[in-house]
């Protein structure tokens, strides 16, 4: 969501995306070292309510990826695109890998994370760039 008046924000999620766009990405961590994404009241892995914001590492590694050819209407002009799950240590993120040919993406590729916009509708999303 772009955050304009016509498009209500999702508290927690949009705040997290704002921070990521500003270069201040974070995740939530409990005292047992489990990572998760907001909004959360308890750790999804152990139920701890002691959650704090921890800086997201600058770089993560592609753990798995797919080249999507058949897209939903909200991504149709972005296809084909590469969706990846990227491991940042205590937390993983799902997003689109950009600035690299799909055939050059491999498991283990080191990527940085940012916020980009979709070709289809200009909405924001998580994007990864090879480092």
């Amino acid at each position: 969501m772009s955050g304009d008046d016509a498009s209500p924000r999702d508290a927690g999620y949009d705040d997290w995306l704002d921070a990521l766009a500003a270069g201040d990405g974070y995740y939530l961590a409990c005292e047992n070292g489990h990572g998760s994404l907001p909004p959360r009241r308890v750790c999804p892995h152990c139920g701890s309510s002691a959650l704090s914001e921890v800086d997201l590492p600058d770089s993560g590694n592609v753990e798995t990826f797919t080249v999507v050819h058949v897209a939903a209407p909200s991504f149709v002009d972005d296809a084909p695109y590469v969706t990846a799950v990227v491991d940042f240590g205590d937390v993983r993120l799902t997003g689109v890998v950009r600035d690299v040919a799909p055939e050059d993406v491999t498991v283990g590729t080191a990527v940085g994370v940012d916020v980009g916009t979709k070709t289809t509708d200009g909405e924001r999303l998580v994007v990864f760039h090879p480092r």
Binding site: S36, T64, V67, P73, T83, R92
Partner: protein, 388 residues
């Protein structure tokens, strides 16, 4: 605890029925099931109905009373929604109601109408089974999610696209004689390998089709079957359910589905069996890789071992453990809210001897069904047994 029997089963032909309404599809399956059971409609004490995307496909919420009405029922009706595991959950709750003594006769099943939407709209509708914020808005599609799991599997355990093609070939071969199947035709490994990519490494022939259809089951207590002289040789002896984090990236392993393992352990414990006792299985192969993950979660194979099962001929019709003799979701079709019910319908027919493929497993007494929602954030397993 009261014993539960499958007294009657009903299906529509699975396929493209884009002009048929959901209410008509479900009524057909429900009436078949009641006729097959020989149970009068006034004896039905509850309708447990599964449906996933009816609000999007037909702009119809509040479907359960509508479906009861369509089937000529006046009993309480409830809709269950766990994505593609909706009807599995509906059936499980029916079994629990009868076991507890709360009811003697429950009609359970489900319906999905899908082909009245465009492929793009269906892709969008199916995606809502994933995490809207952290997956769908990032471009995750339903095939994309299973593609992520497939590549993670290959990286962790090995295997390749050709192994997966053998799963598709096997299930298509099984569907040829099944009159309810969407695709009653065989395919070759070459056709599967050369089909267009959907979400690499998955191609078109790794994916189940988009399907309209309905399923229905009449479950009764053993006491009711005895009193009313109902011929119901197949018993539900185990039911289990498991859940997991909704988003794939929040799970410890990307190539395992522990929700199904938990469901299987629960169902096996109730049935007093182990994986070695299973003689035939209907599993949730929405994508070829999903059958592999299912077989490992059910304990029928060790992690990393099921990828070659179809290629080695172990799960084919003449193998030691035939899997998806109905054709599976891959060839029989996958009307998502109906699938969990249709798996129990097909296994019942296989065990009681009136399925076109019953002659493949003439002596089988124990079978399992495995029904999964999303990327297996929900799983339901049932154990069926031919009663003494």
């Amino acid at each position: 605890m009261n014993g539960v029997r499958v007294a009657g089963v009903g299906l529509t032909k699975f396929g493209r029925h884009s002009e048929r309404t959901g209410r008509d599809l479900f009524a057909e399956a429900a009436l078949h099931a009641m006729e097959d059971a020989g149970v009068p409609r006034d004896d039905v004490e509850g309708l447990n109905y599964g449906n996933f995307m009816g609000a999007l496909a037909e702009h119809q919420g509040h479907q359960a009373p509508l479906m009861a009405e369509a089937a000529g029922l006046t009993c309480p009706a409830t809709r269950y929604e766990e994505a593609c595991a909706s009807a599995g959950v509906a059936a499980r709750e029916a079994v629990k109601s009868i076991r507890s003594g709360e009811a003697d006769v429950i009609l359970a099943g489900g319906m999905e109408r899908m082909t009245n939407l465009s492929t793009a709209a269906t892709t969008e509708a199916l995606a809502i089974a994933a995490d809207e914020l952290f997956e769908v808005r990032q471009g995750m599609t339903f095939p994309g999610a299973y593609a992520l799991m497939a590549r993670a599997y290959f990286e962790t355990f090995g295997g390749d696209r050709e192994d997966l093609a053998h799963v598709a070939v096997k299930n298509h071969a099984n569907a040829v004689s099944n009159e309810y199947a969407q695709y009653q035709r065989e395919i070759t490994v070459e056709e599967a390998m050369e089909s267009v990519p959907v979400a690499e490494p998955l191609h078109l022939f790794d994916a189940c089709p988009i399907t309209d259809g309905a399923s229905a089951l009449v479950f009764v207590s053993e006491a009711y079957a005895e009193t009313h002289d109902i011929d119901a040789p197949v018993a539900v002896v185990g039911t289990g359910q498991g859940s997991d984090n909704l988003a794939l990236h929040d799970r410890e392993h990307l190539a395992q589905t522990p929700a199904a393992t938990r469901a299987a352990e629960m169902a096996y414990d109730e049935a007093g069996i182990g994986p070695d006792d299973v003689e035939v299985a209907e599993v949730h192969d929405c994508f070829t890789i999903a059958e592999v993950l299912a077989l490992e979660s059910l304990g029928l194979y060790e992690p990393g071992e099921a990828i070659g099962a179809a290629r080695r001929g172990e799960t084919t019709r003449d193998g030691r453990l035939p899997v998806n003799l109905s054709g599976g979701l891959k060839a029989k079709g996958h009307p998502v809210g109906a699938t969990g019910g249709s798996q129990i319908v097909e296994l019942t027919r296989l065990l009681r001897g009136d399925h076109p493929n019953s002659d493949v497993v003439p002596d089988a007494r124990v079978g399992v069904t495995h029904n999964a929602g999303g990327t297996v954030a929900s799983a339901v397993v049932h154990v069926l047994e031919v009663a003494e």
